[in-house]
């Protein structure tokens, strides 16, 4: 059948470039392999030329694929499944890039792009290491290219191609019409959760972090391969630092996104997907520290190999976890199964097995020092620190892998009652130990430390830290008793340790480095790390729920949760009715709608009960958005330097359910009479009648009766309602009046001098309300500042290491 209106050329080009990139990366891998293995100069240079050419073709193909896919999404070519599935016409341009990372294909493509960028830099900068390192990178590119190939081998499809046509992928009656495309009005759109600016930048940074872990891995492999063991550590160090900085930033950007959009009630929920991204960072940090030990003392080279090898393999493992669908029952935001599990496992094992077999074979030949490290030496404690990072990674990996363990052993374990706490109670001790080590280690010297010297240097920072800690604990009001006094004690201890880490590292810039900031990359990063620890401890242990449901106007009157003994976390606000929430009086004032999307904004006014502080927050929510039934809420936050107020909608009235079933109940009252309703009482204050109404259409003797009703609700608020009744030529026309916040509708059905007959209706459907949660996060900014400072510190170190390597090379060249 001939279909009309399709644009098939981009797809054909896309397919072509995918195949080209697959072939080019295969050629590059093979040619780099031969370059590394060749003995004579001529072979090396000809293989290398070929390898570089092939890699260049690979780079161009990958960028072409990216460009074509972007063209398809940008022009809303919904004949392509990817564009239809992940975008829509109303999607803002700034979110178009996010469509790439909503789908698995696009995120593999992103990963591949970063490998291209890193590979191009390596070709320019890696010199002797180019061939073996690029063999590994090119091989990874082969694997990534297969992920988006979409080629069939008999009945098995390798990879998922982003250029497939919608009509080939789906069986729907409309595809039997040649003009089906004109019937597809719009795409499925981007998941509203991803329509957030953090989601535009978090995935690229995170993927750059993931992609860059291949560089230290490739250097470690190259070291084993070329038997130039140890030499590789010099060029690898800046790369490893870069990877740590970017991966760390990427993870915390994800945390920031979770904090601002995902309604997890925080930046970190120990969700398996978050864990899987953090674990490689931990081992990478371990590897950087063992590498520094090796540089200064010759110890720990074997451990460095191991940690860099495991880091990249853990990235592959996390790819498997998040994309295979095994986390389906445990994670809120894993990708769904694309039927590529075999391929994902193969991707993992094709690196895991060879790299560790290779490591085992060469293990003996990796130099190590037999002489024991002194316990007073810096390297001893740095090694302990690295080991703790590794063991923590191991613990988190095992805990995160429960679904995998269940699959392998047929068990049926899952996280316990309080998943977050089962992590926190372990991690708090890691924080304590790492906090102390971070504070103290720099004051030790490599090889051996004179204890007198050590004491002299560390005494001042220790005393200052103790004073500040005491003040912080005395006045900081950290009383998180949810998990008992033991855990509170641990939090206190960890607070002291993180303060120690902060103070000791700030002091070290002067005591150890004489204020030379360029040399203090390590101290600056450690300071950032300490601030992060402190920020995490304070903000998690002092997080306050503001929306405790204690409002008195509802039937339950702040009924406590029978199980936890606490009132619930959700609070319902009726439009226009100020409600007490924590220290604030909160009013749901109004709402408005996005001009093009079913996106609603709710204006919520906060007024501090004691101070002058008042502000308005506008949390929003998508309502019944394109197949996503129900609401998807985005919170709004008010930022202060020392805390954030954070609120989001959890429930809205369902118009279907609230079909008005209540009827008017008749109520006869005389002037001054009182009657009750479910939430208070009302008084008929006055009843007046009027003739000679100047309004149009009324004859002079037509009458209008007005009843003035004063409503007193249980919470001492009073309202006045004025229903009226028009008598037009003997026919009666009642005009109702409503008291919105009390659910009351009054109707005047009969009026006679002092006696009125009212119709009173109580109904939920007239009530406009929202249900929300609100939190207060104190000192969250310490965490973000800590991240920034840590990344700055690492950057200072990268610059320093690159300079050192350069001048070392220059000296080498001079002496040759």
């Amino acid at each position: 059948m001939d279909y009309t209106g399709e644009h098939l050329l981009p797809g054909i080009l896309g397919h072509f470039f995918i195949i080209l990139s697959l072939v080019a990366s295969l050629v590059a891998t093979f040619a780099y392999f031969k370059t590394t293995r060749s003995k004579n100069e001529a072979d090396v240079s000809s293989w290398k030329t070929m390898a570089r050419g092939a890699f260049l073709v690979e780079v161009l193909s990958v960028f072409a694929i990216f460009g074509i896919l972007f063209y398809i999404i940008y022009n809303h070519l919904f004949e392509y499944k990817y564009a239809w599935q992940h975008s829509s016409r109303t999607l803002e341009v700034k979110y178009l890039l996010s469509c790439f990372w909503e789908g698995q294909e696009g995120s593999f493509l992103l990963w591949s792009i970063w490998h291209c960028v890193l590979g191009s830099i390596l070709i320019r900068k890696a010199r002797n290491w180019e061939a073996p390192v690029m063999t590994v990178v090119s091989f990874a590119q082969v694997c990534l290219a297969t992920m988006i190939a979409g080629i069939y081998f008999f009945n098995w499809r390798m990879g998922s191609n982003p250029f497939v046509l919608l009509r080939n992928e789906m069986d729907a009656p409309i595809f039997s019409q040649p003009n089906y495309l004109s019937l597809i009005k719009d795409g499925n759109d981007l998941n509203p959760l991803l329509q957030n600016y953090w989601m535009v930048i978090h995935p690229p940074v995170l993927f750059l972090g993931f992609a860059s872990t291949i560089v230290p891995f490739a250097f470690a492999i190259a070291g084993l391969w070329t038997k130039k063991t140890g030499d590789w550590t010099k060029p690898a160090l800046p790369w490893a630092l870069f990877s740590a900085a970017v991966l760390g930033t990427g993870i915390m950007m994800g945390g920031r996104w979770a904090y601002e959009s995902l309604n997890f009630g925080g930046y970190w929920a120990w969700d398996p997907v978050e864990n899987a991204s953090m674990v490689p960072w931990l081992t990478l940090i371990g590897g950087i520290h063992t590498l520094l030990i090796y540089k200064h003392t010759g110890h720990s080279l074997r451990a460095t190999h191991f940690l860099f090898l495991i880091t990249f393999n853990l990235v592959l493992y996390s790819t498997f976890l998040t994309r295979s669908g095994v986390l389906g029952d445990t994670s809120v935001h894993a990708f769904t199964d694309l039927g590529m599990n075999f391929q994902l496992l193969a991707f993992l094992f094709v690196f895991l097995i060879p790299s560790f077999v290779f490591y085992a074979i060469r293990y003996k030949s990796i130099p190590h020092i037999v002489k024991e490290e002194q316990t007073s030496s810096r390297e001893f404690w740095m090694f302990i620190g690295s080991l703790i990072f590794f063991l923590t990674a191991l613990f988190i990996t095992i805990a995160t892998s429960l679904p995998v363990i269940n699959k392998i052993f047929g068990s049926n374990f899952t996280m316990g009652e309080d998943a977050v706490f089962s992590y926190n109670r372990v991690i708090i001790f890691v924080a304590i130990i790492i906090g102390i080590l971070t504070a103290v280690i720099q004051y030790l010297k490599y090889k051996q430390t004179d204890l007198k010297f050590f004491r002299k240097k560390i005494i001042a920072p220790t005393i200052i830290s103790l004073i500040i800690s005491t003040l912080a604990l005395a006045f900081g009001n950290i009383n998180y008793q949810e998990h008992g006094l033991g855990f509170l004690g641990a939090i206190w201890f960890a607070m002291v340790c993180s303060i120690y880490a902060i103070i000791a590292n700030v002091s070290y810039v002067w005591i150890g480095m004489k204020g030379k900031l360029k040399l203090s990359g390590g101290s600056i990063s450690h300071l950032g790390f300490g601030l992060m620890l402190a920020g995490i401890l304070i903000s998690s242990s002092k997080k306050e729920v503001l929306s405790w449901n204690t409002s008195g106007i509802f039937v339950q009157l702040g009924e406590k949760n029978k199980i936890t003994g606490e009132p619930g976390e959700n609070l319902t606000l009726v439009k226009g009715l100020p409600t007490t929430m924590g220290n604030y009086n909160v009013t749901y004032e109004s709402d408005s709608m996005h001009p093009e999307k079913p996106l609603w904004y709710y204006k919520i006014h906060f007024k501090n009960k004691t101070g002058n502080e008042q502000f308005t927050l506008m949390p929003n929510a998508f309502v019944n958005y394109k197949g996503n039934q129900g609401l998807m809420a985005n919170p709004a936050a008010r930022h202060y330097w020392d805390h954030d107020i954070f609120t989001y909608i959890t429930s809205l009235p369902d118009p279907e359910k609230n079909k008005d079933t209540a009827t008017f109940k008749p109520q006869s009252l005389k002037k001054g009479d009182t009657a009750f309703y479910s939430n208070g009482y009302y008084i008929l204050e006055d009843l007046t009648s009027q003739t000679n109404i100047p309004a149009g259409g009324l004859a002079p003797d037509d009458k209008v009766f007005t009843a003035t009703i004063k409503v007193f609700s249980k919470n001492n608020t009073s309202y006045t309602s004025k229903p009226f009744l028009i008598n037009k030529g003997g026919s009666l026309y009642p005009i109702q009046d409503t008291v919105t916040s009390e659910n009351l509708i009054f109707q005047l059905t009969k009026a006679d001098n002092n006696a009125a007959e009212l119709g009173v209706r109580e109904s939920n459907s007239i009530m406009q309300y929202i249900t929300l949660k609100a939190y207060k996060f104190p000192f969250i900014n310490l965490l973000w500042a800590g991240v920034l400072i840590m990344v700055t510190g690492i950057t200072v170190s990268i610059v320093r290491r690159v300079q050192l390597n350069r001048s070392a090379r220059e000296i080498e060249n001079l002496t040759l």
């Binding site: 998941n191 374990f413 316990g416 372990v426 976390e569």
Partner: protein, 148 residues
Amino acid sequence: MKKIHIALLILIAATIAVLISFMGTLSTYDSVQSAMKKKGKTVSIIAKLDRTQPIEYDAVKNPNFLSFVAYDSLGGNMKVIYRKEKPTNLEHSERLVLKGKMSDDHFECSEILMKCPSKYKDDMNEAKKNLQENAAASPANTSTTQYQ
């Protein structure tokens, strides 16, 4: 033995101890029936929402009370009480992972993880339905105008 090896052994022993105690905090996936046998213990039950029964949630009366009926693949069913807000996609969920404790007459749920067909929109059935709705050229947001 080197001191570093001793430290290594201690830390590994500590890790094992941590893992064992971690295993102690774990719960298990259960069916409704097997959960009945361990009342008061935290379990996770993979179940489906019983759409023939009403979902009880009224944010005006109490925004922290939700009650519904769920059944598992073995046919066991139970009343579930969840003392938080109603997850927004509950009615449209395909599968529920309910964590909580069984009591005499209901399942006291502390956590609901929903698997919705369209959460990440890779499920083709829901998507197909959307496509047909789109193709029928009905204005996309008629249902939402009611909120005004």
